[in-house]
Symmetry: D3
Subunit: 168 residues, 6 copies
């Protein structure tokens, strides 16, 4: 039994994440998906709650064909403790998938295998780029799974992002 770990902030969950997870699903028996900065929401760069992100991810992966866990991970602001924190909140995993240099370094120092999946179309497929499009009223729905469009509609998420991004 091989279990892989993948972490992101998913603000919002998009096609880049989906594509990486479909790739991981071919390599492991189970996937643990960590939602980073789970405690943050209603911020211009972290607009959605952990619960809303759980919903986006779970629905978008409904037909993944590989069992997965979706686990909110609150920040602890102590890098030297972060791997232990992640491991305490998740089912035991054998390897970690990440392209984030800090995540890579922390897992390596903890003796855990890390693979860095290729992220294609990194320019357009990023949370920052998508939130900017939402603010600018540029097209964004093609960049996220249909389930995410649906969740954002239910929670009126784009309107929330616009409101909290206004200057005071």
């Amino acid at each position: 039994m091989r279990r892989g770990f993948y972490i992101g902030r998913f603000q919002p969950y998009h096609n880049g994440h989906q594509s990486v997870l479909e790739h991981i699903a071919d390599e492991v028996d189970e996937i643990v998906i960590g939602i980073g900065s789970a405690q943050l929401s209603h911020l211009a760069d972290n607009p959605f709650t952990a619960g809303e992100r759980v919903l986006m991810i779970t629905r978008a992966l409904a037909s993944l064909g590989c069992p997965f866990y979706v686990i909110p991970i609150e920040d602890i602001r102590r890098n030297a403790l972060w791997v232990a924190h992640v491991r305490s909140m998740t089912p035991l995993f054998d390897l970690c998938y990440s392209s984030n240099p800090l995540v890579v370094q922390l897992f390596k120092e903890a003796g855990i295998t890390v693979q860095s999946p290729a992220m294609y179309e990194r320019e357009t497929l990023s949370g920052t780029a998508i939130r900017t499009r939402m603010l600018n009223r540029a097209p964004w729905k093609n960049l996220v799974p249909p389930a995410v469009v649906q969740v954002l509609k239910e929670i009126d998420g784009v309107e929330r992002l616009r409101q909290i991004s206004k200057n005071d």
Copy 2:
């Protein structure tokens, strides 16, 4: 779509929890299961990590026939904020199932419907009773789902409980 919320500490997850969740599964479309005191582990009354509890619950409910989410919820030690905390970490739910008087009161003050499911065999089917049996080497495996026996074996959980319960 009707979503119900159920919370416990699940130290460990046992047949009483299983029976309540099977009952809830008949009444709602989706269940959100919150793992309370998620940050605690390696304590005589909170021996298992959130990740270990996620595993117990997910495996035990594999054939529930009702979609469910398992979400670790760290304590915030601020009762007046606890409902908002829970809601930020979970997909939106319509009603809460709980027999805990404090949980009932907090959700009621927040205007959320609460139902108190009957817990049968409360004397034997409680985390405290089961941990005491583990310490006393009394039979306990019949009180939890087979999947929980398996997880506890994988993590050597009973031995951990015995070690940390020793007097210094």
Copy 3:
């Protein structure tokens, strides 16, 4: 200008507090009232929120004839920092009124004058005694100022205390 500091948890505010404050009002020009453990509520021994306690105190002292400030003080769980914490949250004061041995010691070590006011009828005029009476449906309204009876009625406070004091 002489300003005195008085701190309590005020769960609830009662005639003992009122009597001490009326006495202090004769000795100083302004009173700073700190509400300790401000972050706690909905607990058997800390049932009321800081905001509810602010209301009890402010109304009960409406005709005190001495200006006063009512300041919620959250716990910091670091005794060596507590005096600095209190002073950062309050207008500068010259002396402290307290009978609590820890408070007395901490202020003395910080070089601040402490006076210990006599508390009469300590047996009946204590938060613990009054909460016990509320739970046992014994008379309690004569032990608190009329304004406190009114606030507790508005927030359904006695019912809350009873609900959260039930055994799970």
Copy 4:
């Protein structure tokens, strides 16, 4: 009985705040004034302690003619919990006055009525502008109530701001 809530950081309290509060005083029976980021002080953009700000506000509003409460509110860095946090620290209020887009959004999501008072002369009447004037030794005393000038003198506040704003 109608109670309104107004929040600011008040670094320092100035004529813009005073003018808004005088306007609110005409519309409600009581005002709850929350001092945001109460735990911060001795920073270039948050130089004054909560207690010093309590003093500025209370003295400046001495002749307001409307009862008011001044409540320090520590940050919780969890936007989804912030409204519950505020409500736990304050007497119950019916509506909120704010022009801050985040505050407006958070209260709206919590189902609380929000009004955005007009802030006139926003350019000069802002904490940032006034602190810059203090640093540049430009005139600022005409921008704050006389009571604030007095408090700043007592605590040697301008000198503190200058010292902590120096480059290391």
Copy 5:
């Protein structure tokens, strides 16, 4: 180079600690001494600050003949993260000396060698027993190194313990 780790709360540091450390000094090249619950002080069971305990230990070990580090370790209340926390605050060590069952378990799960040194005269040589003697005015100076008697005199430590142990 062999470095050993030893942790205690040292409330106060006594002859039992001294004897264990002298024993460890024979086995390793350097000793790292962690002061647990460093953030606590002015409590009946944790009367002395971390700084006061640093002083007791450093002076008492002045002629140990083995280099040592004395490091305050604040609690993190997350057992699963505690070993990572300790390691981030200390020079790298090879083995841990502890008789505390929880410490033993946590280091073992982290793959670190643990040795449990014999503690002789455990009944009289314990922080609890010594604090009780201080409160009861029974002889205690023969149970701690002379340097600890000296530090306690300088800080008036016994008087502090008596004052904070009074009933309110």
Copy 6:
């Protein structure tokens, strides 16, 4: 007996720190060295753990000829409490050495004498400048004591800094 306090983040400890401490060693009987932001590590501007910094300092000062204490100090993000925090973690000191304007102000408000030692070659002898050189593969070993070069080699510190400084 005269004890002086000196604080820095020591990311890394360098010849500028060494020179100041050698100067202080001539003026006092004992030195307390506080390691600021002790909880931070694995960040581009705070790459090294507190324990690693303890090691750098202790080894570099092996032949100082003046007794010293090295104490990790975690941030508390409450400037008004910071001096009390520092004092609770350290042996009592009589004066503070610092050139940091905030530190100077906080100690002065607490009534503690502060001296600002001259820092020569501030341009090159700063943590920021040295980390930049490490990233740019410019010479840096001549800017720190030999013991620091040795510690950084043992922990592979420069490689860690490079890895975590990469863009995601």
